[in-house]
Amino acid sequence: MRGRRLSSIIASVTAHAVLMAGAVIMLTPFLWMELTSLKPPQEIFRLGLHILPREWGGAENYGRVFSDTPMLRFLLNGIVVCGAIVILQILIAVPAAYALAKIPFRGRGLFFALILVSLLVPIQVPSLFLYLGFARAGLLDSYASLVLPFIISAFAIFLLRQHFLQFPQEVVEAARLDKFGEFEIAWRIVLPSARPAIGAFAVFSMVAHWNDLYWPLVVVTDPEMATPPLGVVFFRNQESGSDFGALMAAATVISAPLIIAFLAAQKTFVRGLTSIR
């Protein structure tokens, strides 16, 4: 009895130690970024490792971020673009996933296979064609060019389909007998049970598109239209080639909204992830 308890303690300690080591590896760059953002320039390049800043350069660094760049504009662009992407992705994925999960039709398997295949195709593959298309349509440097390529998310359709599959078929049939239309069934009967999945997907998608640099770099040249990461790139090129304190401050500012959002929705997020089977 005592032996078993001891071994379970050892197992638990080992597990926690491994997880903590992982957490430290993940968090160190973040922490380093934040500490650097608080240091004055001369201290960043000083030889030798010291963790806490000796002199505080934080005010100056953060001040530069907001005075030298339209940082608020970047953040607003980020919110508009990511918000639009996520909302449109869900608007399109819910009916598509519902049809794939609950409505038998000819070619359903083929459609689903195509969606799975398209999961494997990165944005870099069609980007040239998309760029040419937007250029021809005169839509470069616009929200449309930032949003439209992403509104159909194969991942969202796949994820929601898996969730909808588990929804009892008899409830869908009861709704049909109660005179619900198929769209109403998808949105008002089936979707509420998939809320955690929607939440988890929204976080994933939000993070991916908030942090995306590749696509904004392709279609945006006007700083007015820049998303936060692209804004930081512009900032580095124009203003502060080697002012790493200010750059780290900018990086901290643009990652802050995500971290705050994650902390606020942590429970839903974890529930959504663990409920995916």
Binding site: E170, V171, E173, A174, R176, L177, F180, S193
Partner: protein, 383 residues
Amino acid sequence: MASITVSDISKAFSGQPILRDVSLDIRDGEFLSLVGPSGCGKSTLLRIIAGLEEQDHGSVEIGGRSVDAERPGRRDVAMVFQSYALYPHLSVYDNMAAPLRQRSLTQFQRGFGLARLLPKARRKEAEFRREIEATATMLGISGLLQRKPAQLSGGQRQRVALGRAIVRHPKAFLMDEPLSNLDAKLRDTVRAEISALHRRLGATFLYVTHDQAEAMTMSDRIAIIMEGQVLQIGAPSDVYHDPADLRVARFIGSPRINVLAGEIDGSGRAVLLGRAFDLDIAPPAHGKVQLAFRPHDAGLCNADTAQLVGTISHIENLGSDILIHLALPGSEEPVIIRESHETAIHRRLGDSVGLKLDSKKLLVFDETTGKRLRTPAQTETAS
């Protein structure tokens, strides 16, 4: 309220025939049970009537009008599912309100909660509330209206599912094994309640079950379905006492009917289990037959005077009656005889006793087709 007519329905799933040319007439206000072993196609038939499944062939009429081209929602029938199929995120009240709202509110009024505050919608909502509260009181669930389905017991969910069907006054109620997820005690209660509900509403009920006792106790008529075909339709006493097919005779009744293989000749002599036997029946045919009799239609007698003798292999005491299992040499299954307590109490396992058959109550079936061969006397009473 409406009658339902099903004509020549056939259905196959991936080449496997489930229903073959099924025709049924369900009268207005009737309680008809579809009963049969699992996989016989009875649920599929119900789902075809509801419009949830499309038939390969044949047509369905509800209230004298063909509904083959209509979606389930427009057929105006309510269905109670085995799993109850309540909307999991809605309260009991909203579950019961859903069919009413879907039928009489506009898309706009349904889609936006705020639109329900507009005067027109509010008047309708007040109507719904009266209807729902009256139904909930009738079913004894008025205290549960604010609960979610997950917070209810099986019996309560069952009632909510019934309530959701009742509030909208459908043309017919279709019930797909609604009691099979309840425990035995509750099942008896709800069984009586559904019967009472049928009398009270006077609506057409179509009830699917694999439990012949349920069908016998609740129905006006029973349709026995096996292997995708209707073998017999009739009142419970008809299918019990006057089965048209050996499979019906075997399926209906508990304890099961006794069946012995035999042969009859033109003069009314039968050979049962290798013994010549005098039967006072004018046989409808001669040759190999199956002879069947209910456990209460035969008796036991002294072994010395009997033509068929067996040994008691098992005794089941039901309290009121006692079932004696009699092993007959040459018969694989034991014959079961129902005896009263007084006569059976002295019987012991291993006793040798005689079997006394009442030839008037013997049911004769063709050995190959299983169809009933009525003796002239039986044909008279049946017609």
